[in-house]
Every structure is written in C-alpha cells, then in structure tokens.
Subunit: 486 residues, 2 copies
Amino acid sequence: MANKNGVQWSIRVGDGSLVVLEPEHKNRVMRLWDGLKGLVVKFAMKVWRFLKQAWDLGVDDPRKVFHCLKVGVALMVVSLFYYMRPLYDGVGGSAIWAVMTVVVVFEYTVGGTLYKCLNRICATFLAGFLALGIHWVAIHSGHRFEPYIMGISLFILASATTFSRFIPVVKARFDYGCTIFILTYSLVSVSGYRVEHLLSVAHERLSTIIIGTCLCIITSMLVFPVWAGMELHVLIPRNMDKLSKSLECCVADYFGDGDDESKKTLNGYKCVLNSKASEEAMANFARWEPAHGRFNFRHPWKNYLKVGASSRSCAYCIETLTSCLDSKNQVPESIKDHLSSACMNLSSSSSSVMKELAKIVSTMTRSATIDMAVQEMKNAVQELQNDLQSLPDLLIQPLDSQEESTTPNSPDKTELVQSEITVMPLMEVIPLVSFASLLMETASRIEESIVKAVEELADSAQFKQAEDEIKLKQNPTTSKIASEEV
Amino acid sequence: MANKNGVQWSIRVGDGSLVVLEPEHKNRVMRLWDGLKGLVVKFAMKVWRFLKQAWDLGVDDPRKVFHCLKVGVALMVVSLFYYMRPLYDGVGGSAIWAVMTVVVVFEYTVGGTLYKCLNRICATFLAGFLALGIHWVAIHSGHRFEPYIMGISLFILASATTFSRFIPVVKARFDYGCTIFILTYSLVSVSGYRVEHLLSVAHERLSTIIIGTCLCIITSMLVFPVWAGMELHVLIPRNMDKLSKSLECCVADYFGDGDDESKKTLNGYKCVLNSKASEEAMANFARWEPAHGRFNFRHPWKNYLKVGASSRSCAYCIETLTSCLDSKNQVPESIKDHLSSACMNLSSSSSSVMKELAKIVSTMTRSATIDMAVQEMKNAVQELQNDLQSLPDLLIQPLDSQEESTTPNSPDKTELVQSEITVMPLMEVIPLVSFASLLMETASRIEESIVKAVEELADSAQFKQAEDEIKLKQNPTTSKIASEEV
C-alpha cells in the first residue's frame, strides 16, 4: 500500500488483520537508526581519541616507542630457538621458558629488568635446590609418605613466602622473586613426583631462564638504555624547577601580574604532590643498576628520596599558598602595595635558591653561589618582616596624614596622636598577612629542609667542587683581592 | 712456646725464622673474634627484628595470615591434579599451567584476583584465536613464508601491546592482560611452528587456565574474602577520622593543651598525604568485584576517590597548620587567650563535621544533623572572624587601659586617644593570625570540597535517608511541634 508520502508501513497483528503503522512508528524506526548511527560515531570517536592519546604519548617520549621495538626484537630473537632446527635440538622443548622469561622480565628501565632478572634467577636456583633436597628426603622416607611430605612442604613454603611479601622491605626488593620462588618450587616438586628425569628438568629450566634473562639484560642495557637512576636524577630537579616556577607565578598572580597563560605554570606544583610512589619505584630499581654515566654502583639513591620528600613538603605549602589567590581581591590595594615589593622579592629569591639547588642536583656540582642565594633569601624574609612590622602605622592612619606627610618635617608624635585616627579593619589585612607568612614558611622550608637534603646528597654522592671554588683555592690572593673589590 | 700469660703466638716468616707475635697481634686476633661475634650478633638481631616485624604484621591484620593459608590450600588442591593418577590422565602434562595460574593469579583482595583471572582468560582466548588464525594464513601462503609471517606478526603484536601498556587507561585495567596476550601469542605461534597438534595445545592450556582461575576465584571469594571495595569503603572514612583528630590535636597543642601522647594523633594526617596510590589501586580492583554486602556491581567507586582527593587537599592544609606549632611560643599569651576559645570552637566544630561525614560514608546513611553541623562550623568561623576584628583594640592598648577598663563607664574615645598609646608589634601577632586564617581555610576546604564530594557520593550510591528524616516525612505534624519545641 502506498499513500501520498510514498511508502507506508503495515503490520499483521494476531487476528490476521493488517494495521497500518502510523508516522509515529516510522519515527521510531528512524530514531533507532539515528541512535545506532550515534553509537557508531561515538565508538569511532572513542577509538580516535584513544589512538590520538597513544600517538601523543609516542611523540612526547620516543623512548617508549623504542622500548616497544626492543621487546619485539628480543621476542623475535628468542623465538629463533624454535624456528631454527639446530638451536631447537639443543635446548629442546623447554625453549618455551626462554620465551616466557623475555615476555615477563623485560621492563622499561634497565633497573626494572635487572631487578626481575636477578630475582628470577636467584629464586629459581633457590627453589630448585630446595625442591630437589626435599624430594630426596621424601623418596628416602618411603613411597607412602612421599606425597604427604611434598604436599605439606609446598603448603608451608607457599604460605610463608606469600606472607613475607607483605613485609615492606621484601615487597620493595624481592616481590617478584617470591612469586618465582613459589612457582618454581611447586613446579619442580609437583613434576618431581611424576617425571623421572627431574634433574634434567631443573637444568633445562635454569638454562633457558638464563638465556632469556641474558637476552633481556643485553637488549635493555645496550640498545637505547633507559636507566631508572638517570630518570630519578632528572625527575628530582625537574620537580624543584616546577615548584620554583609555581611559587613565582603564584606571588605574581597575587599582586596582579598573572595572566591566563601562567595558569599552567602555576599548577606545576600539583605533580610534585603525588610523586612519592614513582620516586620510590625508581629508587628501588636504580639500586640494581651497575655504574652508568656519572653514577657509581652504590650511588646514594636514598638521598634523592630525601630531596624529593622535602620538595614535597614545600609543595604542600605552595598548595596552601595558591588557595590564598581566591581572597586576593579582599585586600585594599594600598596595603597590598605596601608589601608587594617585599613579597615579590622573597618569591624571586626563594625560587632562585630552588633553581640553584636543582642545578646542583642535575649537574652534580656544588655551587659557589648557593650560600649567597640563601643569604639573599634570608634578607628578603627580613625585609618582608620589616614591612609587616610597619603595617600598623598604615592601619592607624591619621585622617590628615596624607597632607602632613608631604611636608618635609614630619609632625611629632603627640601631634599625630591628637589628630583623629581611623583604624583600618584588621579583617581586610588578614588574607595578606597570612599570605606573607605562608610565603615565609615556604622560604623556611626551602632553607631548612631542601637545602639540607641537597647538601647531604652532595656529601654522600661526592659532588664536584664548583669551578669558582677550585679557582679560589688555587689562587687565594687574587680571589681575596677580587672579593675585596666586590 | 709458652710465657707467663699462657699461650704465645708465633709465625714463620719468609727466611725460615720464627717471629713471636706480640700482644698487639694477639689483640688483633681478639679483635677479629670480637668483630666476628659482633657480626653474628648483628645478623641475629636483624633476623629477630625481621621476625618481630612479620609477627606484628600478622597480629595487626590476621586476614593477611588467612590469605597466606588460602594460597597454600589452593596450591595443595591444584597439585592434586598431579598427585592423583586419574585426574592426571585427564588433563595431562599441561596441569602445570593450572599450578602456574594459581601462583600468579591469587591476590590479596577478591577484586585483584578477579582482575587477574578475567584478564588472563580473555587475553589467552584472544591471543590463542589470533595465533591460530595467523598460523592458518601462514600455512596457506607456503612453507617458505611461514616463519616470516609468524615472526613479523609476533614482532608487530608484541610491540603494539607493549606500547598500549603505557596508556593510563590500559595500564589501570588491562596491564596484566597485555602481558598474558603477548605470552600466549608467542607461545602458541612458536609452538605452532613445531608441535603438530596445535589445537589440542591451545585447548589444554585454556582448560587448565580455567581450572586454575576458578579455583582461585572460589577460594578468594568464599574463604574469608577480602573485598577491595570494602577496604576502600573503610579506608576513606578512617582517613577522615584521622584528619579530624589531627586537627583537634593541633589546635589544642597550639593553645597549650597538648601532651606527648597526642604526638601520634597529631601525625595522623601524614598517612593521608600519600594515600592516592593505594586508594586508586583499590578502586581499580573494586570495579571488578560483583555485588557484595551493601555494594552493587556498579557501585560508584570513583566518587570515593573524589572524597579521598578532597580529604587529601584538607590534609595539605593541616600539614601547613602543624608547622605553625613551631612558632606558637612567639605569640604573647594575652593575645592567644583572646582567640583561643574561638579557635578551639572552630577546630572542634570542623572536626565534628568531618566525623559526621566519615559516619555518613561508613554507615552509607545520610545524616539529618550534617547541615546543622556545617552551620555550626560556619558560625564558628564567623565568631573567629569577629574576634580577629577586635584584635586591633588589643593592639592599640592605652597604658592606663587596665585601670580604666575596671571602671563601669568606659572612657570616651577622645579621652582614650589622648592618653598615651602603645602599639603592640604586629610581628608578634602574625603567627597567630596566620594560624587562625589557616584554620579558616581548613574549614572552608571541608565545607566546599569534602562536604560536596560526600553529597555526590551519597547521591550516586543512593545512601539511605537518615532515620530522623524518615520520621519527619512520616509524621510532619509531630515533627513540626518537636522542632518548634527545640
């Protein structure tokens, strides 16, 4: 049937009669189609966004792409054991363990890979020998007791090892080793009961694991290596730089110089707030790494964590400082102007101390100017305190002070007091006062916490002397003259 | 040779003569012995401390011990496949995969176990089918191309999957699945080239993995289950309680009531500062868990994270607040007394709001009194602001104010101004003022951030109405009378 609109939809209902579908039903079909189209578009958009995110990630840090290619290459190489007959005949069917090892052990950083490799090898050795030993005892105690001894030992060892993983020290250094220990013990003990040539099983497993781990270590260390220690070494000063920029930005914003572009810089401190977990993971991996670049085997990575922790404590302070920005408009401009230069001065000197500290850490060279910068920061604190001290004079404002202050001879005190005074409400000043005192707290945290932590790091990692200082020592007379000239 | 002291030590040197060892040498031996003894004692102490730590851990949370026993039991059960001949004949040598699955997949929380199980099963399925498909293509493109096709596909898939693990969403939900995908694909594709009965290999591996995962899921869900969702649900209000206690403690300490015992309570906020990682891990696991207790399958775990984040922002503020404790002695007692009651009041009302919020979250019941508590906190803020506002009167202290204030009629203003005034240095007050304003900032964060986050959680998780409110709705007249009586 067709009406004026062209096609007409009809449906045969239960009693056999045809019911013509009204436009409403057509609309429903259309709506279904639209909904479906919407879903497909939505899905496509999601996939597109995912791919975009992945692309950005790759562009942002090409080393991640290299890592993936490295994994692919390592897997290709290890599967050669299977593809090429001579090699295959050598290691036999257990070559599968080499493949597994590569897949499971290859990590982004060299330290991560080494951690897993060493854990895997040691745990496999240990568990293998233990299993063989207990198996020997079980065999010699008679056929009847054998499964019981093996089962009970498995139960006890598995439970104890699992429990040890809850202990923080074990968790940080040997978590993977614990898994492998249980795995190997159960595999060897269980197949020991079945397979008669147990020793050869253990030997094959070990040798293939060693092949796999060696391959991983070589690939990760020689082809575009990513050292966890180096990452940590770069991360810590970068975070300090971010803090210093945030601090400067925040104070500039408070006194009116902030623009929209600085919003991103201002929020730089946020990624320092939650950096603890990643810093600790990196330090944990770094301790497994051999000497590389400027780092010895026993480089004091723990001290980096201390610097990180003190930066974080500074970040908490800056976080509270930024929340003062909401109340910046409550403070009268006249009072703000009174403190503005001192605050700006303190923020710039604090952030230059922080930048200098970051430079010390990243160049691994002591700085000749850091003491001066800290002294400058202290002076800026003192200056701000002085300005705060003179605030009450502003608060107690004689009504005719404006005119009188223009006269060269300031009026004597009794005269000033006798003229009518107005006390500016303290409430309007409080936000500014607390902003200033938070700024001083930040400065004191930099001085007491970060500076000390960096000094400790410099001592324990034996940072180089600054070139200026070396010159000073070589040429005490000229330097003395130079310093007198200054 | 023997002298008066008993034994004498001698040594035969190069030219054959005997050199008697002087007491100094004996001392060296003794020192060596002492050093050795010291080492042994040190080692014993270390082991003892380790065991003590482990014992404390077990006593502190017996569920961790149960977890270890569960792992042991699951491993015992799965090794039965090996020990008992009939079962062994059923699944064959691949029973080893079931053992491996149990070791690798069993996690502390149900969510963690489910996450790993589902990831493992899905990834194995997907990779297995893909490997079979590509293997089929490879076979049909001729013997010469077969290894190339398999090798190149392995390279591409392994690289792409490894790269996808860097993407945060994938990392959070499918990290383990990615590893298993690469593992299975490489195992199947590599053995596909060798082993002729590939389908049966894939089938065996799948069935044993399913046996292993089922065993893990059953054990972890039925025997003393530890739900990640429940853990998160308990952790969030516990952290809020810690914050509220820290806040109260800090203010009490500032105004002189603190004792040494309160030090631990005061530092309670510290574990909130770095709770982000563990909260996120729990929320990630919780989303895999089925309905349990009072939680549905799609319980809004994300909202818990929001509450956690806002608690953390409050913790940053409290962290800065505690650093004010160092300067508490700089403030004159008279000024402190002026603000003490208002500050104590604000801290107690803020912390009672926080406690009430914690109660709402932990009981999953809306509170009828929370609005009142928030209002009380606002009033306390107002009160503190008023007290701050009257601070200048204290600062501008007429020298004879003490006597004059005792007279019933206060002197009129001009008289007061004309008497000599002393302005108390603002510097002494600043620490107190900034303490008070930090306290107000904390209160505003509680109000603006935590209260809102909890409300959102209550809405999306459909928390029950408070019993009082239900009564109110059922009995509007009586409640109206009651409220009028109040």
